[in-house]
Symmetry: C2
Subunit: 450 residues, 2 copies
């Protein structure tokens, strides 16, 4: 058999679809990984997709559907006729169904829920009731739970039956008669055990679990820390409610990381690309305006030194350079410390040592910049004394800027206050004000030499 590459295979599939070769199409299409099926589905023309829906049964379509992005799911569900859509939704994992239904309007969601069997619908309702971005909202109900009194053979039998509907079969959770989580067995241990070994003896009873109201970042951290494929979610009385799987956690981690970009750039909570310009302006302008008010402080500082500036107008030319350099040095330190906090490598190093190191780094970079400017400014701007003022200022302000850049996130971290205030723009503004004060103080005191 000649193995086709991805593009040729897609082309081959479209031909079969257009010729309405039901049997051949299905055989080739169902060979694909659901992720590829979904990619293929979303790239079809709308009419071709209708043919696709006819060729796949709702259960097969559920596999395709689950691999789509949420906003793609929203579009596709509206293309399906009602009975087909309802049946498909019953084949979705409960977490996916809950995510989808919470995106639809009430009447659409209600119509789909009504068509589901009662138990499934209750599970979906339950998940939709958890606060967003918690373990409860992230988890799925399709887990496998064992009785501790069964033996390995019985457990494997149960597994064989339930495997097709479970989201993961690689961890098996052991519950008591009140559905409380008491242990966990990995499928690996179960397979390598003697068939008459009792689960009670196989399971690990010190099982790591998360609470249903635990924040999703916390869940992600635990799964990452323990290299888990899934983590069990329990209620306050220890009842096993569901599981969070590693693939959902990867999305959370990625989402958090790109959200951090927003925090770093005063675009906090406003980096979503799917909003209108008006909404974006509404979300983003408060940060810009707030920072502009801080900027007015810099105007105030400069105005205080109008006298100095009036005598040496050339001093104004180096304001952006000085502030830019201090800002960059400060955000470098910020990046180092934030990264250290994120990766957990900082705590172990000792905070004071880190601050001192950043200060030394700032002095060294400041020294290099000062020497460079002492060479360049006299050549291009003809004033050695201005070069001295700018040089000393850049040395001092870079040293200070690294301290500010490193200290602010540490304080934020210790006090657990809103980390937005540790973001680049705030630190830059603080450094701007300090830098200008240093600059004009030095300039004013050296005025009679200039």
């Amino acid at each position: 058999m000649v193995r086709l590459n991805k593009e040729d295979y897609a082309h081959h599939l479209i031909e079969l679809l257009n010729k309405n070769e039901n049997h051949l199409f299905r055989e080739s299409f169902l060979q694909l990984h659901p992720t590829d099926q979904a990619e293929y589905c979303i790239n079809l023309e709308k009419e071709q997709r209708q043919t696709l829906y006819h060729m796949l049964d709702p259960e097969e379509m559920a596999n395709v559907f689950q691999a789509l992005d949420l906003h793609e799911q929203k579009d596709i569900i509206l293309e399906l006729d009602q009975p087909y859509a309802s049946e498909m939704v019953t084949h979705l994992y409960t977490d996916d169904a809950a995510d989808l239904l919470s995106q639809l309007n009430k009447s659409e969601a209600h119509a789909l829920l009504k068509a589901m069997d009662l138990e499934d619908a209750n599970d979906v309702y339950e998940l939709m009731a958890y606060p967003p971005k918690t373990a409860g909202a992230l988890m799925t109900k399709e887990f496998i739970s064992l009785a501790s009194s069964h033996n390995a053979q019985q457990a494997i039998e149960q597994l064989r039956e339930e495997a097709p509907n479970a989201e993961t079969i690689y961890y098996l959770y052991v519950v008591n008669e009140r559905e409380q989580l008491v242990g966990v067995v990995s499928l690996r241990d179960l397979l390598t055990a003697q068939s008459n070994e009792v689960i009670q003896n196989l399971m690990s009873s010190r099982v790591v679990s998360v609470d249903s109201v635990t924040k999703q970042e916390e869940v992600a951290k635990i799964i990452k820390k323990y290299n888990f494929l899934a983590a069990p979610v329990v209620s306050s009385d220890g009842t096993l409610l569901g599981i969070v799987t590693v693939d959902d956690v990867i999305d959370v981690l990625e989402d958090e990381a790109t959200e951090d970009l927003g925090e770093f750039t005063a675009a906090r909570g406003a980096t979503d690309i799917h909003v209108s310009a008006f909404t974006a302006a509404k979300l983003r302008s408060p940060w810009i305006v707030l920072l502009m008010f801080f900027g007015l402080l810099t105007a105030g500082v400069i105005e205080q030194f109008e006298e100095t500036l009036n005598q040496i107008i050339l001093l104004a030319a180096f304001i952006p350079l000085l502030m830019g350099s201090a800002g960059n040095a400060g955000t470098q330190s910020l990046a180092v410390v934030v990264r250290g906090l994120a990766l957990g490598t900082l705590e172990k190093k000792g905070l004071l040592r880190t601050l001192f190191k950043e200060f030394c780094t700032g002095m060294m970079i400041g020294f290099i910049c000062a020497m460079t400017l002492l060479l360049i400014i006299p050549i291009f701007y003809g004033s050695f004394m201005v070069a001295v003022v700018v040089g000393i200022s850049i040395f001092c302000s870079l040293s200070v800027a690294t301290i500010v850049g490193a200290t602010v996130p540490l304080i934020i971290h210790k006090l657990k206050i809103d980390p937005a205030f540790a973001s680049g723009p705030f630190i830059t503004t603080v450094n701007d004000i300090l830098g200008l004060l240093i600059y004009f103080t030095i300039a004013t005191s050296l005025l009679h030499y200039l």
Copy 2:
């Protein structure tokens, strides 16, 4: 049995350790998850750790060891005596052993390799030879490969035998007689299959694999996209070489995300907290100096308008405010676009539409800022005309700044050139120069009204 919390359990363990209660200690300690065992181990005093090494055999210690961070492993390995360390290393997964040995000096690494059996040592050598940050360097050799002619029952038998030494048993890779990857079976499908079903019929032959030289970010993207627990790594002729597991990939994703912070802040490749101040300065100063040279351009722009500035010295006071606001608006747009690119949501939206939207957002934010300043500047600085100049300038430069902030990363992305040039500081510098030109051009042309 009373269930102890984590602190009490640790306390209980230390007591047993101090009393040298070998049997009881082992029973309690081995109940813990390796991640917790590692945390416990690293928090002990050095002498207590020596007792721990006596109580655990090298294989048990290997489990603890694997859960440590690389820099912790480096410290611990030097505490172990040579024969114990060598035996422990033979029980590590090959990827962990390779990572560790590449951190040690040559003679230490050589001594450990010599003590390993030839096959294991060869595997470790092989992994150490791959370029860093590639699939080859990330993968482990402990995978399970099946023959396509075996049946489900035989495969499960093989699995039972090999499971204890495999890094994951949840995907089983099917190879032909030349060790080439021809298919994959999930353990789930294997368990639910009839016992006499042949692997050939169970396996999926369209298996997604990565090349040994594929970059680790690429591998992470594929595993994330397909929700894989592991991905097979093949040589150029299709030979199965190893597997990359999802837990390694999470570390890669996290590492990349925090590295992005570096790119965003001109601290590229220099956010490692474990370097000396001197090294940090050496890595970070080139960016600061390079950006300072761009800053000299802003000095040049201001100098060109010295005449204007000489007449209205108050104009200098608003330079930082204007540039700061344009910089913030530009990095907001940058964050939106970078996030869109990272999450893959941007391509589907249409690039021109995104640019236009950012432009509209910039104009709206600019308008709000301009109105605010038109109110405030006359009150605090007594000049309505300066307020008009600053107001018009902030409106224009914010509109331009969003375009620059959104366009630069898109161009970078299209041209696949070094993304460092899309980082915040570069965009801010471009916006600084444009903002100053706008400001002083408007001021100069309105000069006779001022």
